[in-house]
């Protein structure tokens, strides 16, 4: 077996892994990155690039910490949350240090921390905790890919090494300390890495169907929900996220943490591109509107006004039979969409006014063959084609229309301005299933990003950052959608800080 030596080995070349490797290289630590794919990047490579930063001022950090704890119900690792919040201010410098610019910044004042209307749906209740930095991307791509490419180039320029086509298969521990790891190439050849510290930043395991089922309860499905499954993963095709690193960490004694995957999407075909952040029409935006939402029993289950935040709606959908729901509205509401506009338009898919919506529905159903989008002349027909309990649906619609007429949502407290009755034929609907960039969590760490065992004692020299461990911020059960770039960047840098101190001083 080939043996190579380094001070710190980083597994994974997404934002978390590359942030860690960059800081290590800048600290003069000998670092090698090992990446399973033949190129760098992770979940962020295929996403719009927006990151959140809590200002480096005590009162902002205190308030953001308070909001995070309140909305996770004090269920997460609060020490880790504080570490993240206290260090996120370092992100802009890391990005500009790669020669990249921001397209803009949306500031959150102190009084606004903890209010609705976050720019991204991954935080508890969608609360905005800090300022949002929007990265300038290249071409039609998304900025995350550019960050990863520039980071690889800079790591190499600083003396670090990047090894592609290498999958972590075993972590070597001796007397409670990391001594190395084994990586395997595509031909099955093994290389032993002798290192003092190891950082695991391998993202989720979305393409391991058995692990997804075992640790989330979801049945993996494709982007068209063609096999009856109930969770879709929002990364690009052939991601090969199969969880070897999770298994290696657990085999080395790392504790198993909670895993989640709770966003939401309308299955295809014809809704989003297989590059998920490009929509083929406006139906993705329509799905986010605060119209009537029901489960397959026809029952309403949420204040639909919170649906703009994918985590809120996703968690609620996860609790419904079959783990899916239906958005339902009528001809008058469609007219409203076209004449007046949307109630909510996510900044990634700006669509205040929607035109030609009837044709969009027709095209997706008839030309694309989408099985999850519905148009019907009657509610009876709608229940039949969508597979919704007829009596339940009719009872709910009667009740809902009465609430709309009353101007007060006694059942779920939705803002009256969003109470659109469902009366006038035709009736339009979308099935909404759970989705996520990837699974979130599974590896447990303490507040220093040290991987911990079942006794919550650290495995010395073993660290983790990013989607593979970010469930720690939310606790058990984890109710998170994705770690978001702010967590990946920040905890990657924290891992580097810790590994640097450990290598230099044995701390």
């Amino acid at each position: 077996m080939q043996i190579i030596k380094t001070e710190v080995a980083v597994i994974g070349s997404g934002l978390a892994g590359l942030s860690a490797a960059l800081v290590l290289a800048e600290n003069g630590i000998k670092v090698m990155v090992f990446e399973k794919r033949p190129f760098q990047g992770g979940a962020v490579s295929n996403t719009p690039m927006c990151t959140m930063v809590v200002r480096n001022e005590r009162k902002f950090q205190d308030r953001a910490f308070e909001v995070h704890n309140e909305f996770t119900n004090y269920n997460g690792n609060m020490g880790l949350a504080r570490t993240w919040i206290n260090n996120s201010w370092r992100i802009p410098g890391l990005i500009t240090g790669l020669g990249l610019d921001f397209a803009g910044k949306v500031e959150t004042s102190y009084d606004e921390i903890g209010t609705i209307n976050a720019y991204t749906g991954g935080f508890p209740k969608g609360m905005n905790l800090g300022d949002y930095y929007l990265l300038k991307a290249r071409g039609k791509g998304h900025g995350g890919a550019l960050i990863c490419l520039r980071a690889v180039n800079k790591i190499r320029a600083l003396g670090g090494e990047i090894h592609f086509n290498r999958t972590l298969t075993e972590i070597l521990v001796d007397q409670g300390r990391i001594i190395g790891a084994i990586v395997t190439d595509k031909a099955g050849g093994k290389t032993r890495i002798d290192c003092q510290a190891l950082i695991v930043a391998t993202g989720g395991f979305s393409e391991n169907r058995e692990m997804v089922k075992k640790y989330t309860g979801f049945d993996y499905t494709d982007a068209n929900c063609s096999n009856g499954g109930n969770v879709m993963f929002n990364h690009f095709v052939n991601a090969q996220t199969t969880g070897e690193a999770h298994q290696a960490v657990w085999a080395a004694g790392g504790a198993k943490g909670p895993v989640s995957a709770f966003g939401r999407l309308v299955p295809g075909p014809g809704i989003v591109s297989y590059t998920p952040w490009f929509t083929r029409n406006n139906l993705y935006t329509v799905a986010e509107q605060p119209y009537l939402l029901i489960n397959r029993n026809g029952k309403r289950f949420i204040n639909e006004a919170v649906a703009q935040t994918s985590m809120n709606q996703g968690v609620a959908i996860k609790n419904q039979p079959g783990r899916y729901a239906f958005l339902l509205f009528d001809e008058e509401t469609l007219e409203h969409l076209e004449q007046v506009g949307t109630e909510y338009a996510y900044m990634i898919f700006p669509a205040k006014k929607i035109t030609n919506l009837r044709e969009q529905f027709r095209e997706v159903i008839e030309d694309q063959g989408n099985q999850h989008v519905f148009v019907a002349d009657s509610l009876d027909d709608f229940s039949r084609i969508a597979g919704i309990d007829r009596e339940g649906l009719l009872e709910t619609v009667i009740r809902y229309n009465q609430l709309c007429d009353d101007g007060y949502d006694q059942d779920f407290g939705k803002n009256p301005k969003y109470l659109y009755p469902v009366r006038k034929s035709r009736f339009y609907g979308l099935r909404i299933v759970n989705s996520a960039y990837n699974t979130l969590g599974g590896i447990r760490t303490n507040e220093k990003c040290e991987v911990i065992n079942d006794e919550q004692k650290p495995i010395k020299g073993l660290y983790s950052a990013g989607d593979c461990m970010a469930g720690e911020l939310y606790g058990d059960p984890s109710l998170a959608v994705c770690s978001l770039s702010t967590v990946a960047f920040t905890l990657g840098m924290v891992c580097a800080d810790q590994a640097t101190a450990y290598v230099r001083e044995g701390i």
Binding site: F39, Q40, S45, R138, K140, L146, T275, F278
Partner: protein, 66 residues
């Protein structure tokens, strides 16, 4: 024109999405294939294709395709 995909292509498929007659995803070999039509495409189109790549991994040069 000669069109080449550099080794730092991240296989995001944007080029396939926007220019399906010029590029294809090759799942077997885990890469983006340049289709024959790309070699015959107009230079202005190809220059735009190169600009649209998220990581600038599409190289367009004058010369006969191999």
């Amino acid at each position: 024109m000669k069109v080449e995909i550099m080794d730092y292509c991240i296989r995001c498929g944007l080029c396939v999405e926007f220019y399906p007659t010029l590029f294809a995803l090759n799942f077997v070999e885990d890469r983006i294939d340049v289709l024959p039509a790309a070699m015959q495409a107009e230079e202005s189109v190809l220059r735009q294709v190169a600009l649209d790549c998220a990581v600038g991994a599409i190289s367009v040069r004058k010369g006969e395709a191999e």
